[in-house]
Symmetry: D2
Subunit: 348 residues, 4 copies
Amino acid sequence: MTKTRVAIIGASGYTGVELMRILSAHPGVELTMVTSRQYAGMPVSSVFPSLRSLVELKFSDNRVAAVAAAAEVVFTALPHKAAIEVVAELYQAGKKVIDLSADYRFSDRDLYEQWYQPHTRPEVLEVSVYGLPELFRDQIVSGQVIGNPGCYPTSVILPLAPMLKAGLVAPASPVVVDAKSGTSGAGRGLSPGSLYCEVNESFKPYKAGRHRHQPEMVEQLGRAVGQRPNLLFVPHLLPVNRGILSSIYLTLERPVEGREIEKLLADSYAGEPFVRLLPDGELPALSAVRGSNFCDIGFVVGGEGRQLVLFAAIDNLVKGAAGQAVQNLNLICGQPETCGLLTGPLAP
Amino acid sequence: MTKTRVAIIGASGYTGVELMRILSAHPGVELTMVTSRQYAGMPVSSVFPSLRSLVELKFSDNRVAAVAAAAEVVFTALPHKAAIEVVAELYQAGKKVIDLSADYRFSDRDLYEQWYQPHTRPEVLEVSVYGLPELFRDQIVSGQVIGNPGCYPTSVILPLAPMLKAGLVAPASPVVVDAKSGTSGAGRGLSPGSLYCEVNESFKPYKAGRHRHQPEMVEQLGRAVGQRPNLLFVPHLLPVNRGILSSIYLTLERPVEGREIEKLLADSYAGEPFVRLLPDGELPALSAVRGSNFCDIGFVVGGEGRQLVLFAAIDNLVKGAAGQAVQNLNLICGQPETCGLLTGPLAP
Amino acid sequence: MTKTRVAIIGASGYTGVELMRILSAHPGVELTMVTSRQYAGMPVSSVFPSLRSLVELKFSDNRVAAVAAAAEVVFTALPHKAAIEVVAELYQAGKKVIDLSADYRFSDRDLYEQWYQPHTRPEVLEVSVYGLPELFRDQIVSGQVIGNPGCYPTSVILPLAPMLKAGLVAPASPVVVDAKSGTSGAGRGLSPGSLYCEVNESFKPYKAGRHRHQPEMVEQLGRAVGQRPNLLFVPHLLPVNRGILSSIYLTLERPVEGREIEKLLADSYAGEPFVRLLPDGELPALSAVRGSNFCDIGFVVGGEGRQLVLFAAIDNLVKGAAGQAVQNLNLICGQPETCGLLTGPLAP
Amino acid sequence: MTKTRVAIIGASGYTGVELMRILSAHPGVELTMVTSRQYAGMPVSSVFPSLRSLVELKFSDNRVAAVAAAAEVVFTALPHKAAIEVVAELYQAGKKVIDLSADYRFSDRDLYEQWYQPHTRPEVLEVSVYGLPELFRDQIVSGQVIGNPGCYPTSVILPLAPMLKAGLVAPASPVVVDAKSGTSGAGRGLSPGSLYCEVNESFKPYKAGRHRHQPEMVEQLGRAVGQRPNLLFVPHLLPVNRGILSSIYLTLERPVEGREIEKLLADSYAGEPFVRLLPDGELPALSAVRGSNFCDIGFVVGGEGRQLVLFAAIDNLVKGAAGQAVQNLNLICGQPETCGLLTGPLAP
């Protein structure tokens, strides 16, 4: 089999390292170049000893032309804003690009600019596709620039979209999303709040009601469903390395029973290899998805059938970032969608 | 100063150990007897090495008469149901009792029996007092049997009561309580779900909408406020030893601004030594209360002033159990309320 | 490709679950039966949600005949003593067996009986092979009963054997092994010492100088090298799920330089796919091997060249148990030795 | 009672925060000033929310004159090198100083300069006293500048000194110290190795044989005993916030029995309030000392009486830093030595 030649720009963050980990065991891919301004010239294995003997590359500098020459498909794992131009240049060079920043996730440029900054490449934004395969697979397959979803949005859109589509959610009541993320979601950057002793044995909310993933999930749910939900999003920081668990509280238009929700989810995700539905009464846990590309969804019905709580668990670095990016790679390269992504979750 | 002679029945659970820890440094108390069926005859320090040189007792068997002879005030830290008779006997022997089980927390016997089991000592239940000093101090001071509050209810009633009292909460909308507890809340009993490898690096909801602390908080909020709230309670298990953080979502009757909430909380808890109010925009964290009797309360206002999110953090073993019990001891014995309870939180 | 039909007896401990995880992604294997007395009749995925959609079996009861009918190769993951008869029956039924208990790890029956109990099947013990491929690959390839090494011994024998073989170690001085293991090494059994709150934020030595892995490593080092070392083994319990790091202190016969040790290790493990040697001055870490079959080895030279400290890191459930067992499976079935075992370590 | 007026210079590291925590509950002390260049002008409680309502100060800038005016006793918790001049100025201003850096821990100036840098105030170094009360109490009581011991040295000197004093240790064999420290020992500084995701679920050795605490423990053991031991020190980084456990391996001059070691330790530390000796066969654990000023010591005898393994557990921030500093404060101010230091360890 001819292997697809692949490169990663900005490979020294947690997302980049996870991409290297997954790609090093992917049978259909050859990883030809990884870049990092900070570590340019150093062997990957001396910076990330976990990859010793698996990734035999040195970090290159972040030069787009060299990357374009080395690869057919490029993952960009840069901070948002930094990705805008790099992705656009690769696009113009005819490369397929899977961007893991927020810069190509929005269809609504105004909304992006309201929460981030001016978007200097609106013409590329326009052709980009939101890379959530379970909802937008058809567009992804023929896409050239994929905006890989945020970690929180992935964990919220998947359980919530079927309920909104089915018209179950009372529009007057806000959808409350109480989400909890492992600390790798904060990245490898140095900040006091990411120190071991600050996170360990603690737990706290942050950016309540003002996290940038809120407009992303609202917009994409709106696109999938036809109407933007009224959503209140409160993230919390968990003392674990990996994982997001989102608890989603809905007031319903009419009373339901558990089996109706079960059937709705089953119909929505029939045949999806990475969505695992739990029977009524079983609730997901981070330990069951750690290191995997699965999204586990469970629920309970309360309030005499008028309240629904959805729970979704993902590994924020896999289904929430690098794994979903590889899923998108498989789709745009015509590989089996699960290729390189079916190793079992690490439990315990 | 004459010291109050105190005993603990059922001292070998986490709550009992925490009581011993706090009481060993309490200047107004002499700990005369601690009982444990499982460890009867063994030195406390050989079972709990942390207490070596601090508690020089052996565990006694659980005989009520011996305990009654040894102490004026007795803490009962037995599982619910087991406490009913023991507390009643101590009551009849004229002892003051602070019960840390659920058996004397309900004023409404029917509600208790609906969620637990038949209450065989309703006459003692009737005279018992709910031991949340910030709301019921007057009754506690003259009480003989104190039902020490549950950990989750403490973390929910304190932030929520002022909002309900002020009539701010829209009665049609449910109050959503998304609570997260450290693992010591599950006790020292042996169950697969409490094993290190099951809890560590994981996180999950449990007993969503059907946890027994829900009726307790609903009843006591109703007593404090005059009307039982419509409340949906979903607890989650955190990979930390200690701490509860409750995130409480309210839809308001009318729009508010942050300073109104700030003032309402400040007025409600002026002079309270163990309630610490955070300024608008600061959110509590478990690390700031670990090992202490504080309840830290913060909030954010959203939805154009129509949505309020309250956050409360406590140490489940201290303000959520043993510390609050000692606070009650101080009140019923005429000691300063903060005696033995003002050591600083362990951070990091 | 015809897949090898494989079964696991005693599949509900951590080692069994890890075997299922690895085998579910192994292209050359069909997992046909998994047994568990405790969970017989239950779907694997309802007990171990991480395996949902990956292992579509129910647990069977532990009947050897049924297992023998279902598989060509059987992993036995029973507690020691329980394995003796089961392995022997499978052996007599002509099956290949990889035993993960201690019952077939000793060549010296007396030594086994001194530390464990009488061995009732010495004739099978006699034909069994110690399954450490890097030292005993030739015997394994043609073996029928493989005694899969203990986790601690794997982490000690690999770094230490080359030093002993080279005659570098002063025989008069004891070899000090200070080893630290993650908590999954203690298994899924219920004991107070394995509770989350007991292990988390703690650390302690246990069974100092009297752990049963000590005679195993001494015997197998003796077999590999020709002489049993004088070894003092002190294990400690780490608050992590997975991983063993062993620090090994040697007094040398003569002064050495770092590059001599580097060369000795490189020559000893040239071509070994799962042994990764760190350059002089780099030290291994558990995070670099988590979830993988690698053994990372580093060292420092001190005391003017007369003292050597070796460090080895493995994942106790993979290279220390299930992964090494699959490596042995590959060897005895003629599959590529790395098949199913090259996914990258999960870092972070 | 008149309270001693006390200040802390460099109060925003973990050691400074722990000092504030302990001092806020110390009945004989008034904390009048705390300094921090980074946070000057900010309320302590806004930087360290755990101290809200306990420490009602703002951070001051690091001006020695102002500090000298505000306090009789000053704790300096600066990085080494930075402390040299500050301590000397306070000394000249007639203040008592307890320095928590390494700058006044060495009696042997050459040794200090070999491992750190030139010491610009040798005349103050000369009058300084090593603040390990159990060994040097008499000197401390009349000291003016106290060099507060390092965390590792405290955990090594206490168990080892009696063995060396008794002449039990074979001088030809090196003393192996395999030490493990919680992450607060690395301080609050920003470095990749201190990030949550790097430390959590990992474990590793560092600075093997070249950590600066090695010469400190060698020198002070030499002073206490009359001869410097031959010691190999290998520290490791533990995924816990607090705690050091040191495992110390000795080859003995002659065979001993456990009760001889028990007696030797008991005689050496009779009456010491913070040294807790474990009976033969019981081993210490970090959980038993967390948050306390205790040093727990246990041991095992092996090798037919010729090998001794000592184990010591402390909280690195308390007995290893701030607690010991307050113990020294009590001594130099004539307060009871245990004042403010007898709260029980936080377990779990």
